[in-house]
């Protein structure tokens, strides 16, 4: 027994000595510079068809990945001229020292081939400093689908290097506008998030506004005119079938889906008063959520479906309010100067994006769900309608320019900005565009 105690004593003494020697240093800061990555063109295998080679699918995919990464603001794709290794050899085993020389921290390589009319695209992501492969995947699809594969690859890389879901394999629905300002033709249009593959969903006979995706991206709800009255519509993208939502004896507008996709929440206006209603799409049961003589509109659910944010002028000015999804416990959350509108709850649940008008300038901003920590991200002559990327990091909105009395010089464009407020980018569209809405990830 004594021996054991003695041993324990000795152990304690020596252990103390060892731990004493280790120096600890806290690293609490880092840089937020974009990560330098090298995207080597994907090489096309020689046995593939000539058509594939002509299309230069390999370098096109690399280009899309590069553009996606660059636009995210978190990556800095390096110039191809500085690349030191051929794509096919780099894909087998990169010479890490050489890539290190050009200051790349990550390298993307890949190859493309066609077998039995199926396009096979594989890629590898290499950690240059650790000198190892950190991800490798292959996708097989129909040849026309190569653009989408490029977006999916970007999502995988983005998630592996940043720790959050990507937002590249997504689509944007918006209102395409044409013609003079007082006679605008407005059509519903859908495109990939990078502006490619634009398709029109309506003919432009009726005015359309505020389109929104449902969680599965199959349905769209929007506002259009039915018998000269603004009404909420539902459109199935696959089949093209449209229907008016509910039989309301007045105008309905500002629709949005609930997070489970089973309900549509919208405003219904009658006799100068507007309140918020929901309609269950399965049972068609309509429920009144707010009851107040003021104008309540622009409702948006929290991602868990438990709360709703909306704007109301019940305090005299238009401000943002939050309530439970049954309409109880209404709380005002904005108290700043100016007018607040179009609140949208982030898919992450932590923030609410909004438009603010103050001294005849328009701001897009974010704040926490309790109204604290307001941050204005961008300011302009006229801009509104923010919509979140599925990962809750980027907002898309539209901006209009000042026009002359005859409408000359007028334009409407789509823009994106990330939460830092520094990465603002124009999204190119075929025509003027407004009211964008971001879909969720298509590949999920």
């Amino acid at each position: 027994m004594k021996n054991v105690l003695f041993l324990i004593f000795l152990l304690v003494v020596f252990f103390t000595k060892n731990s004493f020697a280790l120096i600890e240093i806290d690293i609490t800061r880092g840089n937020l510079n974009p990560l330098p990555v090298a995207v080597s063109p994907l090489y096309v295998e020689s046995k593939s068809s000539e058509a594939l080679k002509e299309l230069e699918v390999g370098s096109e995919i690399a280009k899309i990945i590069e553009t996606n990464l660059l636009r995210s603001g978190l990556f800095n794709p390096l110039e191809k001229d500085s690349f030191v290794q051929k794509p096919d050899i780099a894909h087998l085993k990169p010479r890490f020292e050489d890539w290190k020389l050009i200051k790349a921290q990550a390298l993307i390589t890949g190859k493309v081939n066609i077998t039995n009319d199926k396009l096979r695209i594989e890629f590898r992501l290499w950690d240059i400093l650790a000198a190892k492969e950190i991800m490798a995947l292959a996708f097989t699809t129909v040849p026309d689908n190569w653009r989408r594969v490029a977006h999916i690859i970007t999502d995988k890389i983005y998630k592996r290097l940043t720790g959050e879901e990507g937002y590249f394999d997504t689509r944007i629905i918006y209102v395409a506008e044409k013609g003079p300002k007082n006679q605008r033709i407005k059509k519903l249009a859908i495109m990939d998030q990078d502006g490619a593959n634009t398709k029109y969903l309506t003919l432009g006979n009726e005015l359309v506004l505020t389109p929104r995706f449902n969680p599965t991206n199959q349905m769209v709800t929007y506002m259009s005119y039915f018998r000269n009255l603004p009404r909420v519509y539902l459109l199935d993208i696959e089949t093209g079938v449209q229907e008016v939502v509910g039989e309301f004896p007045g105008m309905t507008f500002a629709p949005r889906f609930s997070p489970d996709g089973k309900k549509i929440i919208m405003s219904f206006a009658k006799d100068g008063n507007s309140d918020i209603f929901t309609m269950n799409l399965e049972t068609r049961v309509v429920e009144k959520i707010t009851e107040h003589p003021a104008i309540d509109t622009s409702p948006s659910y929290s991602p868990d479906g438990k709360y709703i944010c909306f704007n109301s002028d019940r305090s005299g000015y238009q401000q943002i309010y939050v309530m439970r999804s049954d309409g109880s416990n209404v709380k005002r959350i904005t108290f700043g100067q100016g007018i607040y509108g179009t609140p949208v709850w982030s898919p992450r649940g932590d923030l609410i994006a909004f438009t603010k008008m103050y001294k005849s300038r328009f701001y897009i901003g974010v704040m926490r769900a309790d109204g604290s920590g307001e941050r204005l991200l961008t300011e302009n002559y006229y801009q509104e309608a923010p919509s979140w990327s599925p990962n809750g990091r980027v907002l898309i909105f539209y901006r209009e320019t000042k026009s002359g009395s005859q409408g000359e010089g007028f334009s409407a464009t789509l823009w994106s900005i990330d939460l830092t407020g520094y990465n603002e980018r124009l999204i190119e569209t075929l025509t003027d565009a407004s009211d964008p809405s971001w879909s969720s990830l298509l590949s999920n």
């Binding site: 004593f9 000795l10 003494v13 020596f14 103390t16 000595k17 004493f20 020697a21 280790l22 120096i23 600890e24 240093i25 806290d26 690293i27 609490t28 800061r29 880092g30 840089n31 937020l32 510079n33 990560l35 978190l74 921290q105 950690d127 400093l129 650790a130 950190i134 983005y158 998630k159 592996r160 290097l161 940043t162 720790g163 959050e164 932590d350 990962n391 990091r393």
Partner: protein, 269 residues
């Protein structure tokens, strides 16, 4: 009775001696302290007014006198005299310029030796350490004083020094280096524990022999995928920074280092 007292004494002696032997403070070797460079903060006017310092003024006057004598003895053309700036402090550069001009204008062979003599003489005059010291003598005395003071200070801070292992400036240099190398992944969740502890074994030149993530289990825990991303970013930072800016002395102190990468502060703001 006697026996038990005897045993008690013996056991006490054993325990005390064991504690004395194994207690870290007692066996710690005196650490070779790097020389402390003290930096004195002086006002800019102190530097710009150097020529007017009392001692410097005398020296300048001496130099001016000698220059006048020299110019006379060499029978330099009046143009040259004009070019010389008597008010300026004669720096070695000026002397060299003169030398060049003279060689051009006068017979090179004959005057070469003369010039040599002159320049050597000037060099002596200008590079005399006493005189240079005189120019800055005041600050030198002050520096010495502060050095003594700071010496005392650092000795009194010895306790801190032993506890942290690295001096504040050594630690700051290392931190600053790693801050620059660490690209924090921006997509990390805000409400999670974002601390990665990495243990390093270093070579004398600061290159990393071995790096080990201490909470390795979290790397593959479901729902903690972000931790892997964070840990990898920390490892990248270390690799990018290699060799680490470690002190030149006292390898034993820092051959094992633990870096705690904490992204909470940056991401939560």
């Amino acid at each position: 009775m006697n026996k038990s007292i005897f045993l008690s004494v013996i056991f006490h002696i054993i325990i005390i001696s064991l504690t004395a032997i194994s207690f870290p403070y007692m066996i710690k070797k005196p650490i070779d302290l790097p020389p402390i460079i003290s930096i004195e903060l002086i006002q800019i006017s102190d530097i710009t007014n150097i020529p007017y310092a009392p001692k410097a003024k005398k020296i300048l006057e001496k130099i001016k006198k000698k220059e006048k004598e020299r110019i006379v003895s060499e029978q330099a053309p009046p143009k040259m005299v004009k070019k010389e700036k008597p008010d300026a402090i004669p720096l070695p550069k000026d002397v060299k310029k003169k030398k060049k001009i003279k060689t051009k204008k006068q017979n090179p062979k004959k005057i070469e030796s003369e010039i040599k003599q002159v320049s050597e003489f000037e060099k002596k005059e200008l590079f005399d350490p006493d005189q240079i010291a005189a120019l800055i003598d005041k600050s030198k005395v002050e520096t010495a004083e502060t050095m003594r003071k700071s010496d005392k200070l650092t000795q009194s801070q010895d306790k801190n020094f032993i506890a942290s292992g690295l001096t504040l400036s050594e630690e700051d240099a290392l931190k600053a280096q790693i801050f620059g190398c660490w690209s924090i992944p921006l997509g990390l969740p805000y409400n999670e524990n974002l601390l990665v502890r990495i243990k390093l074994k270093l070579k004398t030149d600061g290159t990393v022999i071995k790096s080990e993530i201490l909470d390795h289990v979290r790397m593959n825990t479901p729902g903690q995928g972000f931790y892997k991303v964070l840990a990898e970013s920390a490892l990248r930072a270390i690799r990018l920074c290699q060799p680490l800016r470690v002190p030149t002395t006292g390898y034993d102190r820092w051959k094992n280092l633990q870096l705690n990468f904490d992204a909470n502060e940056m991401l939560k703001g």
